[in-house]
């Protein structure tokens, strides 16, 4: 009996210990799983946008995929650093509701990221916090420029665009060949491509396209022409924009401006204005006459 008890106790003790250990594993793994579930590992994508004549931006797109849907990490803090070790913080920007942390840079700001003349290095980092795991991303960009000439010879309009970049170590801008330079005309909600889909710069860094003669412009015939390189791995996005009087003047014939059922308040169809006013004034005129009749009734009673 004692032996049995001893054996049972020892077994019990071992069994209990094992159960406790296993239990702790599950508890721990539960906690760990919960902890792991609580922290999200987002994706971080950097892009560089240079608007010639405007500002330069570095955008950090931060999101994660859940159930096949892209979820933006709104509010996540993204640190932009000038060094690859992530020690020299330039600015911390929070992700907006479009999922982007946008760093606006003027010339002086851009200089902080210059590794060598005309070459920039950007390092963005999300530090580990309660919600997200740590993540970083780097981006090398070569400075670029676009020059555009508009030539109008005997009503034949030609657009010449040059793509220049700081290819050499001194940072001097030189033409670059085989760069996909695209030409657009700005419309109300999108960019209208002009000159074909595949316009690559030649050995002089140039593209030349005949400009269509029939694109509607505003009432003066002005158009906004956009020439750009889109999301290039070396140069990022570089965009040139200029207004030019190369469109067909268009007089807006808005149906709202005409007399119609869908017209503005002051442009109701004439027949409607006339008939409704005749009816209203006719009826209300008589009703006011009736009110006058009541006044006469009262006066007649007073006289009596």
């Amino acid at each position: 009996m004692d032996t049995f008890i001893t054996i049972w106790q020892s077994h019990l003790g071992r069994t209990l210990s094992i159960c406790i250990l296993i239990g702790m594993m599950f508890v721990n793994s539960d906690l760990t799983a919960q902890e792991a579930a609580a922290k999200i590992k987002p994706k971080l994508r950097l892009s560089y946008v240079k608007d010639l004549g405007g500002s330069t931006q570095v955008k950090a797109s931060v999101y994660y995929i859940e159930d096949g849907e892209r979820i933006y990490c709104e509010g996540a803090p993204v640190g932009f650093y000038t060094d690859e070790d992530g020690e020299d913080l330039f600015e911390e920007v929070k992700v907006n509701d479009a999922g982007e942390a946008i760093l606006q840079l003027d010339h002086e700001g851009l200089t902080a990221f210059e590794q060598s003349p005309g070459h920039y290095y950007f390092f963005a980092q999300i530090e580990k916090n309660d919600k997200y795991k740590s993540l970083d991303e780097e981006l090398y960009v070569t400075d670029a420029d676009i020059k555009v000439n508009f030539e109008d010879n005997d009503s034949l309009k030609t657009l010449e665009a040059y793509f220049l970049a700081s290819v050499d170590s001194a940072g001097a801008m030189i033409p670059v060949a085989d760069v996909p330079l695209k030409v657009f005309v700005k419309r109300a909600f999108a960019l209208l491509p002009v000159g074909g889909d595949f316009t690559y710069t030649d050995e002089d860094g140039k593209i030349m396209i005949p400009f269509p003669q029939d694109i509607p412009g505003d009432e003066n015939g002005d158009l906004t022409v956009v020439v750009k390189v889109d999301e290039d791995e070396d140069y990022g996005t570089v965009q040139f924009e200029e207004e030019v009087n190369w469109g067909v003047p268009s007089l807006s014939q808005s149906p709202i401006a005409e007399r119609s059922l869908i017209g503005a308040r002051d442009n109701a169809p004439l027949f409607m204005v006339v008939s409704i006013n005749i009816i209203l004034f006719g009826i209300w005129g008589y009703l006011l006459y009736l009110l006058y009749g009541l006044v006469r009734i009262k006066k007649l009673g007073k006289v009596s």
Binding site: I297, L300, G301
Partner: protein
Amino acid sequence: MSREAKLHDLIEDLKPRKFRKAGKIWTVVLCLIILNGLFSYIQQLTNGLSVTAMSNQISWGIYISNFVFFVAVSLVGSLISAILKLTKTRWSTPLTRIAEIIAVAAIIFAGLIIIVDMGRPDRIYNVLLHGRLQSPIVWDVLVVTTYLFISILLLYIPSLPDFALLRDRMKNIPKWQHKMYRVLSLNWVGKPAQFNILKRSVRILAILIIPVALGIHTVTSWLFASTFRPGWNSTNFGPYFVAGAFMVGAAAVIAVMYVARRYYKLDKYLTDKLFNRMGQLLVLLSLVYLYFNINEYLTPAYKMAGHEEALLKDLFVGDFASMFWSVQVFGMALPIIFMLFKWGRKPFPLFLISTAVVIGAWFKRFLIVVPTLFHPFVPIESEGGMVHYFPTWDEWSITLASLAGALLVMTILFRYLPFISIWEMAEEQETQEQIPETSANPKLAH
């Protein structure tokens, strides 16, 4: 019996009387319902239309169907006061006051319930300042306002001689009530010149109210018919709404007639014969409405084309089937069948039938307004999957308050105006007995 004695009897029978216990309880109950509705409306004003079950897709609910119902009921004013009067249908004389009071109360609350449906009632002035003449909503505002004014005049002007009689003959009434009659009577003394103005005004108003009444309900129908939505995009809507309005208006008059006859012991004036005639009129109007109903549903059902198919399936066999068939059976078919028999046109059965018609009419307007919104012409992405609409407590209490409000207006008007026009009844009696005119004769008035 002398002229004076007959007039005295008429006044004693028809003069406004104080409420007894039932009347007081009725008034208190109505006030409580209205107060509850006001509280809900304050919630709506504070929290916005999110207190209702309306949404981007179901943007019109029971407020709008209630509005259409009120406009429909208000048409009775033109039917009884105008059409029957112009056609010299003398048996309708006892009903004109009842009809006009119902019309005024209904059209007041038609206007008010529209304002309730607005999330921002403070912006109603924008309708006047920025309204487009091309908009059916602006037409509706114009025609409802015009009809309200005409209905008030058509109630007030023929009441002048009665106000004078009450001013001169009612004793033992509070001073303020006596003053009210004095002011409202506009120094009426029954001079021939005054009568000329009155009769000419009433005659022209009776003529004028007919196109305005037809206009108000046709324009209200155009709020729906001028859209492309299935169930609404119908050229039948104008006459369909007008026919329905005449029917529900007549039913409302019958219901009030019965209550007046029971409560005020007006059997001598609201006779079984009158009920019989009103029942016959209601049958006729119901048959006309049935015809338009068949047109409205049979034509698209025959084709079952496009968006109409889904809507009709919803109505005939789907989510709204029980309500739809209940309305058709209990609100139209059975009333018509019962009223074809003489026993169905006796006062009490006719009262029950009319009540069923009125209730059925309310739900009919709901079926016109809401189911269509579940089948939009332009697809809409509804939030969170399935679309539902069941009015919230706030919506119900506000709607019930509007109905109670209309009944309260009628109650107050019936409290201080004779149910039946005394001077017109006196004229009617004289005409029948070929006795010279005595009503509000200055020699008899004092």
